[in-house]
């Protein structure tokens, strides 16, 4: 069964450092997403990405965050200057189609745990 893969599985960084989280979406999917989940809290939408540009973003996704699809397979989330409150599990997801009627399920990766010290 095709799956979304994420690296690293766990990253520890110092406050103020830049972090890049990587994702390989399912190969024929066109829509890509990042969500995050702070320990013990809800899964929160960050950003959606289609056709090499951001489709939608939440209030959480401020200027410290950026996304990129540098090649045909990877989808990355960059946090420019990490803060303590960025510590969370970050989930990448992809779908075959995006906004519109009955677009089908999102496939989530296993997550990248980010710990900011």
């Amino acid at each position: 069964e095709p799956e979304v893969t994420q690296t690293p599985s766990h990253q520890v960084t110092q406050m103020g450092q830049e972090v890049i989280l990587r994702c390989v979406p399912i190969s024929n999917h066109l829509y890509f997403y990042w969500y995050r989940q702070i320990l013990g809290q809800k899964v929160e939408f960050l950003v959606s990405f289609y056709n090499n540009e951001i489709s939608e973003k939440s209030e959480i996704f401020d200027d410290q965050f950026s996304v990129e699809r540098p090649d045909g397979s990877n989808f990355t989330l960059k946090i420019r200057s990490t803060k303590l409150e960025d510590s969370a599990m970050y989930f990448c997801a992809s779908s075959a189609s995006g906004k519109g009627a009955n677009t089908g399920e999102l496939f989530f990766g296993e997550g990248s745990r980010l710990t900011v010290l």
């Binding site: 929160e44 779908s95 519109g100 009955n102 399920e105 999102l106 989530f108 296993e110 745990r113």
Partner: protein
């Protein structure tokens, strides 16, 4: 945004049928009802989606009454591996791009 309400937790035993009900009194005409499952330290996983009446797939059934103000996820004969958090979500037009997750229902299946 229409809100969903579901029990915080439920307990069950192996082999039992589990029904988790979700209330969504202010559901919009174009909203679909979708359920996801999440195991600890894993990403959510799609279970089922429906608009009205009954939908069934290989893992669950979703019952939606005519007024659509609630829905019930039914898991037949649960096993220990069904212990997880189950989320009821509303998504406009069935689009699952920007899902709004609530706190979900933590289901604990005991031997």
């Amino acid at each position: 945004l229409a809100k969903t309400t579901q029990p915080i937790s439920m307990d069950s035993y192996e082999g039992q049928e589990v029904n988790i009900t979700c209330s969504h009194n202010n559901i919009a005409t174009n909203d679909y009802i979708t359920w996801y499952q999440q195991f600890p330290s894993q990403g959510p996983r799609f279970i089922i989606q429906g608009y009205k009446t009954k939908v069934t797939n290989e893992v669950a059934s979703l019952f939606i009454p005519a007024d659509r103000k609630s829905s019930t996820l039914s898991l037949p004969r649960v096993s220990l591996s069904d212990t997880a958090v189950y989320y009821c979500l509303l998504n406009y037009g069935g689009s699952q791009g920007n899902l709004i997750f609530g706190k979900g229902t933590k289901l604990s299946v005991k031997p």
